[in-house]
Symmetry: C2
């Protein structure tokens, strides 16, 4: 099959906005002549990072954090937005200090992923953090995050946890497991 010809964007317009979100509508014409109106979130342009911190060869760290979307506490890997001027590694180290109280001497690129590209233009870089050292920084969290230690040989049990459901954390966990084996 030949490479796909992208739809033409005939018009785009912001249709709603709040403190955090800006929604825009797109008038699209697909290459077969079909016209459709789509909606998407306008991107801030800032990427995000997610870290898998290893406190020793057999043990990694998770955080349990309040999630407003589900109004529940959720278990996952520490993560955050990249600030302007930061590299993913710098953002990763800052977020680790803010969320788990460690810096990392070694940050290794694992994978890059997106979230629901039908609606968002967000890119998240997954980093393996090793050679940790104690260092805390004050972030913007309303309360300290619960830090949870998990053993590599207990990954099946993590996948079975009711509060470990976020697709990006599941993907990062299984990519890390592959990386450990390689």
């Amino acid at each position: 099959m030949p490479p796909k010809v992208l739809p033409t964007i005939h018009h785009r317009q912001q249709v709603a906005s709040s403190k955090l979100f800006r929604i825009e509508s797109l008038d699209l014409e697909f290459s077969n002549g079909v016209n459709r109106q789509y909606e998407r979130m306008q991107s801030s342009g800032r990427g995000a990072v997610m870290m898998i911190p290893f406190i020793d060869e057999q043990t990694f760290l998770l955080v349990r954090e309040y999630a407003a979307g589900t109004h529940s506490y959720q278990l996952g890997f520490p993560k955050g937005l990249i600030d302007p001027g930061e590299t993913p590694e710098q953002a990763g180290n800052r977020e680790l200090m803010e969320e788990v109280g460690y810096g990392a001497k070694s940050l290794t690129f694992l994978h890059s992923m997106s979230m629901a590209p039908a609606f968002f233009n967000s890119k998240m870089t997954i980093l393996i953090a090793q050679n940790l050292f104690s260092e805390s920084r004050v972030g913007d969290e309303p309360e300290p995050l619960e830090v949870v230690h998990w053993r590599v040989d207990d990954i099946p049990n993590l996948l079975a946890q009711e509060d470990f459901t976020e697709a990006r954390s599941i993907a990062a966990l299984l990519l890390m497991e592959k990386w450990l084996r390689s």
Copy 2:
């Protein structure tokens, strides 16, 4: 550590809306007394399904579909919202007929996952679809989706594809790989 006490929602209010999205703000008080305003997407209450269809024991199917958020074509597993009154399996079969031109005699639950629970309350059920039979239904797609065949022994190459980046598709792929081994 004792079970986390959820923040109290003192006030919630819709602050923006469009055809597809409704954004609400929450006035929260955390259990330590800290007050914060958060924003989240109001949920439609409809779950979603994602299917991994096997055309034979060694080959599964993907679709390449236009993603407005990134304005690019993206490779991933067929997926869609569950219509009112449908079970996940019924929605899965309908979406398969609409997106890849097959029904499935067998649909097996693989996993359930969420997407960015900090902002969304969306639950996606991942199903393995087997014993496929040809049957097409007309969906709401503006153009036919490109259906891509992929071999199980070529999964590393799929993970390396530039247009296979969606966290839920990556998580589903790696969970399926585990399921095949078990």
